[in-house]
Symmetry: C2
Subunit: 400 residues, 2 copies
Amino acid sequence: MRVFIAGIDGYLGWALAQYLVVRGHTIAGNDTFYRRQWVEEMGSCSAIPISDIAQRLAAFREQFGETILFREGDLLDYAFLKSFLQEFQPDAIVHLAEMPSAPYSMMDQAHAVFTQNNNVIGSLNLLWAMKEVCPDAHLVKLGTMGEYGTPNIDIPEGFFEVEFRGRKDKLPFPRQANSFYHWSKVHDSNNTMFACRVWGLRATDIMQGVVFGTRIEEMRNSALLRTRLDFDQCFGTAINRFCCQAVIDHPLTIFGGGGQTRGFLPLRDSMQCLAVTIENPPERSEYRVFNQFEECYTVEELAYIVQTVGNQLGMGISVQHYDNPRKELDEHYYNPDRNHLINLGYTPSHDVKAEIRIMLQDLLHHKDRIAEKRDVLIPDIRWDGSRKRANVIDQTIAHP
Amino acid sequence: MRVFIAGIDGYLGWALAQYLVVRGHTIAGNDTFYRRQWVEEMGSCSAIPISDIAQRLAAFREQFGETILFREGDLLDYAFLKSFLQEFQPDAIVHLAEMPSAPYSMMDQAHAVFTQNNNVIGSLNLLWAMKEVCPDAHLVKLGTMGEYGTPNIDIPEGFFEVEFRGRKDKLPFPRQANSFYHWSKVHDSNNTMFACRVWGLRATDIMQGVVFGTRIEEMRNSALLRTRLDFDQCFGTAINRFCCQAVIDHPLTIFGGGGQTRGFLPLRDSMQCLAVTIENPPERSEYRVFNQFEECYTVEELAYIVQTVGNQLGMGISVQHYDNPRKELDEHYYNPDRNHLINLGYTPSHDVKAEIRIMLQDLLHHKDRIAEKRDVLIPDIRWDGSRKRANVIDQTIAHP
């Protein structure tokens, strides 16, 4: 299939290009390189060194014998987007071109507006361009499990049968996001659902859990094929950040009680899920929602797993609780479905410890880079709009 | 109270300034005059002649002995917005500064993007400015009953108790809007709900029905105090358009079967509801949703009422059914609540015929203006993204 990856230079995009080409797909993609700029703005860098796009594209050609049709450009530039899609005529479009950080969107007015403008208008342009240029293509839209928030009932995949005052209907499941970033993804989901209904587009809206991992098999040992990995307060997500902390003897940082439960999945599972989704497109007019994660964990459980694996590798790892800069529940019910992908053939890897072992071994090679930027590990962006560095509230070994 | 009206030059804004000043409130407001430009872009004009803002402000001062603090400027200009709020220090902010037309937002990519950018980012700026400048003020945010769409169950006011797989929670009621405009209001509702939760702002999100009417008492017979009234396909809503058609002997235009049911309210009821809302603010951190309409009618019923009243005034009025340029259900269940405003003291006027009689009499004075623009009465903006003039599918007298 002809697969267009919007945001092909990012953490998921660069891995996905490799995963898909090995499966026989033809790849094109765009990027603005904003992610590189945002991480620099946070005073940080990728823990895994990454090369520039020209080197990446050359290495890709050499490794896989296939060329990526790449153009630098922005989904907000409608003329660029439309003519690129016209040229490539994709069967599927994977939309990874959004600003993906909750804290970044909560920093101040300018960052909140940037986030919602970039994400909502970029996605809206993509819907229009598909309608005008390739209405038969399949949009694989990356949303987030964070769109749902933490309701006190099970979380179905996008829709639920509801009975209210004696009447029944099947309705979109209510969203209760917790940052302007997460809400931007809800806005996108809504626009996408509407475009399918009104124009007959087809889309899969993926409510993805938090992705972790430093590699997939396809990267082999090529430094040029490796994907980025961030650890700063905005772009470094839980397990990735814990592993970076572990290799520089920094305590693992838990914000609040650590009982916050979320869905997680290794990078290789994310790639598998995206490929399964692309290779099993929905019908025209169909808008389907997939919850995509391997397993749910509390933050505290994850810290314990990283600690256990690190100990086996001879690392002595402590855990620190900080006051939570976010406004979120420490303890809550959390029981999301994830049947749709499994029904299509997704096989969860179910070995988080093996994955974390690989990550720690990979990251040990780059501990100096991480140590140099260790200041970025403690957040100061607070949900009340202020900037104040989180404080240690206690220091414990996570579990006996 | 000190009330800031964003979009004070519009259909509701200009009437509201008068309604509130008579009740003793102090008024400030901004406008971009975009509404005047959009209607001109549609090749139309206000059926009721309106004067420029300088004349309006002078007439207001003369009539009511009070001055409106007015500035021309855009909610998208954050520096402007912030300094204006800083200067005025409002107790309440009524947000009427959004692009309010569904067809306008469905015209093409540029108009869809304009709509969501203007509405979502403008509202997001307003939330940030309130947080930074006047966090205690009460945001009265105009949404629309169209956010809900037409679910097959009752429509509560914003939230509902739901039982799912044996567990219960109170959740936001799912939205199923039917244009990029209506979705922009959903996006706003979501951002507003979040800002109340995370920053402790207070807001009333008004799901307003379709407003009709040519005047409120406060305007007396002053030509300079009259508010605009549109009849083009984008900015002319059902009853207003029917009345304009009636006075120029144009058949009343029903799109599709006419069984589409919506909530409607006269301009004077809209003013009463907004005043009741402003004068009864919610607590800090409270986000409340009011469904605001006087009564629900099918489009066919409304055409019949206009026909009946027109006949009493000696007008011979026919009705034409056209193919529907929108993609919507002709027949559907519709049973929204509207208890919150009634509980606060809103008294529905319950005399739609009297209101329509006044409208027809007012509009008869301006039949030449309307007749000159009669081409704008038939829509050509279709929900499939094409432009094709609606066709007559039959011609009937609405009822025996």
